[in-house]
Amino acid sequence: MRRLIILLLILLAFAIPFFVTSRFYLHILIMCFIWGMAASSMNLIMGYTGQVNLAHGAFFGIGAYAAGLLMLKLGLNFWPALILACIITVALGFFIGILALRTKGSYFAIGTLCFNVIVTVIIDSWEELTEGARGLLGIPRPDPIPLPFGGQIAFTSMPSYYYLVLVFLLLTLLVIYRIVHSMMGRSFLAIRGNEELAESIGIHGMRTKVLSFLISTALAGVAGVLYASYIGFLSPEISDYHVTFEFLIFCLIGGLGTLGGPLIGAFLLTVASELLHGVAVPRLVAYGFLLIIIIIFFRGGIMGGAQMLWLKVSGKGGR
């Protein structure tokens, strides 16, 4: 049943460009996918490992800037730039991670938030490298992939970029799924459940947390690279802590610690904010109200609520 729904959704996602030709709608979908990737990667450290990492927007921004600079200043191809940007993000993530992960709970959240601010300030003020507030202009789209029998896959049109992002989104979700349903994922969940108990049954708390943190930064970096190459323009705001909070809200509304939750959250809010552009209600105020409702009535977000409903309907309740 669940597999069928997921399969249908994937098929639907692949079929969409055939009947949706509006560039505007495709643009919204591409943004949904990119934000969905970023939120899903944040979910790995926050939802599954229980560490509220508020530097996630910084890693998204680092990935984006790294790729943009590698392509513009060093003239690298998209694909090597993607890999290098990923490595750079993980390297910086390692540095921030081993410092911040020494703290726990809300201290970790505050610590990472500070790192996020620092990263944005550095991007903003290191003008020789990043062009500062003027931003990076003209980041190219990915280079075509040559096919073995002549011809090539180019990424110039909207639908082709849509497919590229979709494939990366599915890969991200696959990686997270594999990890969560493995012994490695079980150690992540153990850390989330009770770190002391996890240590007592031989799980290396620090190493496990750093690993989860690095995987999530790597995935955030990839999302950032795709963003940079799609939009073609970067400014320091893309690494700002506001971006982190957007991801956080996507996760909370969709459902922390569920595979689909962050994606659903990213979809709903991205679509809503694009469609409601004309409405006068400030977006963050609306987010605030939404968040209060979620926290009070649906602690598990949309996925959590759906699960509860399913248990009630199917009579498997008794939690």
Binding site: V175, R178, I179, S182, M183, M184, G185, R186, S187, L189, A190, G193, N194, E196, L197, A198, E199, S200, I201, G202, I203, H204, G205, L211, I215, G318, R319
Partner: protein, 257 residues
Amino acid sequence: MNPVLLEVKELCKDFGGLRAVDGVDFQVREGEIFSIMGPNGSGKTTIFNVITGFYPATEGRVFFRGEDITNLKPHTVARKGIARTFQLTAVFSRDTVFDNLVVGHRLRVKAGLLGTVFGGRQTRREESKCREKAEEILEFTGLTRDRSRIAGTLTQEAQKRLSIGMALATDPQLLLLDEPTGGVNFKEISNLVSLIEKIKKQGVTVCLIEHKMKVAMELPDRVMVLNYGRKITEGAPLEVSQDQRVIEAYLGKSYAA
């Protein structure tokens, strides 16, 4: 006599100006059940926490199978073969009983990133090893019927069994039980007592902290009694229970005649 498994030498632990454990020496021998007794605040749990690396020792050393394990990190101590439970029953309360036990065997298998992401055969084999272990422990602790229940919804007694089961899933040679019958009603205690006896039969050495007289007198082979962080006596349970200093520590001077 059996060889020494755990040896604690001149152990001291200070909390600020308070000396919680003061020069305690003892040995636990292979295959026995050793019990630490003492009034509240006499340093029993602190000793467990120092042995398992949750607190650093102020002075003194801990040897396990002749190897100095003083101040190793908790996860390293677990890997060496010492498992423990906590005074306030600790289980992963949001996960099922089965999942709790599976992760208990995590430390004995490898789970590399590449193998995990690409689903390598080695990784799968390691995973099924953990599942087999969990099945074995379910049976051993009598939790088979509760396997898919959420751990937080079990009775206190079943949670105690689960927490002991998780410790056993790490394949320990020494099991430290901090008040295994604490907070459990009288009728259910015999369940836990027989479980601990079964563990001993399996060849796992047990060291436990216990208050309830029934358990503390019947179960252990040897007992050590602490008071104000100092060891006052050690010996067979009956012998110890008649010791004047023990009666004094528990009931006050006027009862010690």
